[in-house]
Amino acid sequence: MSQLKINGLTKKYYNKTALSDVTLNFEQGKIYGLLGPNGSGKTTLMKVVAGLHKQTSGNVLINDEELSYKTKAYISYMPTENYMYASFKVVDILKFFKDMYEDFRYDYAVALLNDINVNIDYKVSNLSSGQIGKLKTAIALSRDAEIYMLDEPLNGVDVLSRDTIMDIITKSYSENKIIIISTHLVSEIEKILDTVIFLKDGVVELFGDAEELRQTRGLSVEGLYKEVFKNA
């Protein structure tokens, strides 16, 4: 049973408020799209849940547990940056994950990377940005975690790699997992989403079922996105 509850989450930085009283409820078996332009607070929200940033106020509950180093075991977070050790070979990165996370499926990762043409004998520093994108997503999804958080998985990635990334995300769906994808590339990703969340200047602007929105508004999620963020 995977569950993620965010209650009144606020994150203030020295000169600005990145998240303002965000309350969200995530249920298992759904893919969530966290949508908003750059600087809307998507990354901050994910980093707080991943335990890399500390909130100013409010709380986050994962399966009714407060955030701590222990909850990191339930969350597979993919940062948007290339965070992997440049001097490591891909296979060494996989070994690192295997050693650090009990739920890391090493053989699955090797097979998956083979499928998507990422050579595990290459050094991270020798990979193209498309390959880095595929590798990051594949590694995050190779953990048998309860919650997946992918921060801008399509950013800086070529069109063909985008398709591959979308494919492996769709295939990772499971009835008892939560998948959260942040992006500002809405049209590419909207057909795999259950629920969309619009984040504008750190505030939840809209939370709703993607199909419901298409039906009631007669617009694509992207169309709606453009409407909401027109002046952003």
Binding site: G29, K30, I31, T170, Y173, E190, K191, I192, E211, R214
Partner: protein, 123 residues
């Protein structure tokens, strides 16, 4: 399959399946892919496919055998009805559209005959 993101995706998939049944591309009693397979194949959300099957089941166009999967209805009557409904929907919207253009019933029939002869002649 290309989707129009402005229309609920489950409706588009339903429409497509119905069309394939009526055209005979999907045979009566044929097994459909599982929700997971189908969502991977179409590159869409799993729950969307699950919803498609649920709606089609309510319309008795598909049926589920527990543990075996989802199958196209074996009832010729169902399929015939489906064919009729789909044809009727199209003709209704056709007639409406033509009326808006100022066509009378007679004009329409004449138009259909000449146009149909023309396309058949081309084949």
């Amino acid at each position: 399959m290309e989707f129009n993101n402005n229309i609920p995706i489950y409706l588009q998939v339903i429409e497509r399946i119905k069309q394939d049944i009526v055209s005979g591309k999907l045979k009566p009693g044929e097994k459909m892919p599982s929700s997971r397979e189908y969502s991977n194949e179409l590159g869409i959300n799993f729950n969307t496919v699950a919803r498609v099957y649920k709606e089609l089941e309510m319309e008795e166009i598909v049926f589920t055998k527990r543990g075996l999967g989802t199958f196209i209805t074996e009832s010729d009557k169902q399929i015939e009805e489906l064919r009729y409904t789909m044809a009727k929907n199209r003709i209704t919207s056709f007639i409406e559209g033509m009326k808006q253009l100022g066509y009378t019933k007679k004009d329409m029939i004449k138009f259909i005959e000449t146009e149909n002869n023309y396309t058949e002649g081309n084949e």
